[in-house]
């Protein structure tokens, strides 16, 4: 029932948006950049939903249930209150100023065709990894919609089909319309579910020290209460028999979002989200798509507070629900016994919804989860398809391709990217580490891009910085597989490749750009005087 409601909802809004956008989509430029005419509201909603997918929902509740607790909501502060304003106020208008169509094209103008192609290849790989995470999250939402009765693999396949439909027909403009509707559905659905969860808890609190939400607090704070409820036994069963870590951190303090003394919070949530978004995100095609499509710089900037507000509050219901799910024996029992559960930490929220919420609210909540993941997944498909079709195929091999042929090519590329995502999603369960690893490949590109915008474009410096950072990143990734050991200090967070990649990128990037030959940066007055054809007005 809930699945039917959700599918009808998406079919209806997609059909409406296709009809709406088809009138305006006559060429590939309309498809990929909405004709460069998107107003500030469409830009804001489109951009807000790009970094707001599984990162704010599925992967975040997995992080919350594996030791970080409610402090996982800091992820959204990093993405929504730091990265988002930086992007909307500075980096988005920067790409708009270039009047080009893709990020690899900008990199090519700055550093030559070779580096543009390298960026096209690596950014596609990076966002394929992140797209796989989105596909898993989409499958999880559909799993919840089926009441946990459909095999997760089928759910993932339905998810990718929806994602394709999301982007395939009307392009960026269609996605922008859908994103406006979905942003509203996302917030309304998830907060309504949270309200109903409160009612459920109040109704089932008899006999405990506190009613409603306070009951959950009591369970977390009191080991005796946990034992009395039988939680300890289920938790041990899940950990020892199924190898799942769920519930092992059911301790007081997990319900606070201010566990600032927890180093894992800093090294695994706050720093990664800020560093990786503001580096890999800035040079990625899918994050920049709304800005390429914006009417002007004013349209890029105007919605900054609205966007921030939407982004930062959207993650809270999911994190709270996962923490509540971990404290309820019936939900954990379902995780232990349901044969369709592939990973209990991922499925805890749908299982809680099925246990605690009325069917229509489960439907609404899962539609809102779908809204988040589909929009991000759709943007990634669009971004990757665009880079492959334009930067890897059209510009190097067939620069004179007709507009009609390019549209066909673009759609084929989008479908191929979708197939790659679904293959990955069927073979993976853990989302969060994949984010961190994939994002790391954008760090050196951002460093040379940033320096090349405001200071100096040095091609040899850019090549050395990027290649060195990639080599170090790969060395950091495969010590076990290839049989060597990392330095003794590379333990804990420093074993993540993002930190070492950041250090290598910044040090090499700055030093080499300073000492090696180059030309003035793209936004400098000197460059504008040397290349009047690329000049733009500063706004």
């Amino acid at each position: 029932m809930a699945l039917a409601v959700a599918l009808i909802y998406f079919v209806v809004i997609i059909v409406i948006s296709v009809i709406q956008s088809r009138k305006n989509v006559k060429s590939s430029d309309d498809f990929t950049k909405a004709g460069g005419g998107m107003n500030w509201l469409l830009v804001t909603f489109s951009f807000v939903l790009v970094p707001l997918g599984s990162g704010h929902t599925l992967s975040l509740w997995q992080t919350a249930t594996s030791g970080i607790g409610a402090s996982a909501v800091w992820w959204a502060i990093g993405a929504g209150a730091i990265f988002l304003p930086l992007m909307m106020l500075w980096f988005g208008p920067w790409v708009k100023d270039t009047r080009l169509g893709t990020m690899p094209e900008i990199i090519e103008r700055m550093f030559g065709r070779g580096l543009g192609s390298l960026h096209a290849a690596f950014q596609t790989m990076t966002w394929t990894g992140i797209g796989i995470s989105e596909t898993i999250a989409t499958g999880t939402a559909i799993f919840g919609l089926t009441g946990g009765n459909l095999n997760k693999n089928y759910c993932i396949i339905i998810g990718i089909v929806l994602m394709l439909v999301y982007v395939l027909f009307g392009g960026v403009l269609q996605m922008a319309f859908l994103n406006v509707i979905n942003s509203i559905v996302l917030l309304v659905g998830s907060y309504t579910a949270l309200g109903f969860l409160g009612i459920y808890l109040a109704g089932n609190a008899a006999g405990w020290d506190g009613a409603g939400w306070a009951m959950i607090q009591d369970i977390y704070n009191n080991v005796g209460t946990q034992a009395e409820m039988g939680l300890t036994a289920i938790r041990d069963f899940l950990i020892t028999d199924q190898g799942l870590g769920i519930g092992q951190y059911l301790v007081g303090g997990q319900l606070s979002n201010f566990q600032l003394g927890n180093s894992a919070l800093w090294f695994e949530v706050i720093l990664p989200v800020v560093v990786l978004h503001t580096t890999a995100g800035v040079v990625s095609q899918c994050m920049n798509t709304p800005f390429f499509a914006a009417k002007d710089n004013h349209a890029c900037r105007k919605g900054v507070f609205l966007g921030c507000g939407l982004n930062i509050v959207s993650c809270i219901p999911w994190v709270v629900m996962s923490l509540v799910g971990m404290a309820l024996p019936k939900v954990l029992e379902a995780a232990a016994t349901n044969p369709n559960v592939k990973d209990a930490t991922a499925d805890i929220v749908p299982l809680l919804a099925i246990e605690a919420l009325p069917a229509p609210i489960v439907g609404l909540m899962m539609v809102s989860l779908l809204a988040a993941c589909l929009s991000t997944g759709g943007s990634i498909l669009m971004g990757n398809g665009m880079v492959i079709a334009s930067d890897v195929i059209k510009r190097p091999w067939k620069p004179n391709m007709s507009d009609k042929s390019f549209m066909v090519l673009l759609r084929v590329c989008i479908v191929i990217m979708a197939l790659i995502l679904v293959i990955g999603a069927l073979n993976m369960t853990v989302v969060f580490p994949v984010f961190l690893w994939c994002f790391s490949f954008g760090i050196p590109v951002f460093v040379v891009y940033f320096l090349g915008q405001i200071w100096k474009i040095s091609r040899p410096a850019a090549w050395i910085t990027i290649l060195a950072s990639y080599v170090v990143g790969i060395i950091w990734t495969f010590p076990d597989t290839l049989g060597y050991s990392l330095p003794s200090w590379a333990t804990g967070p420093l074993s993540l490749n993002m930190y070492v990649c950041s250090i290598v990128s910044v040090v090499l990037g700055v030093v080499l750009t300073a000492i090696l030959p180059g030309t003035p940066g793209l936004r400098t007055k000197k460059y504008q005087e040397m290349h009047p054809e690329f000049a733009f007005e500063r706004t």
Binding site: L84, P85, H298, F305, G309, I312, I316
Partner: protein, 36 residues
Amino acid sequence: MWVAYIIISQIVIGMVCCGVIFLIWKLTSGRGIKFF
């Protein structure tokens, strides 16, 4: 109530961060831009 506390503190922290970044942009954007 812990849920309300998380929601309110999140909004306050987020808006302060965004506001500070906006202020920096406003002060450094030279001629500036008419915003609203």
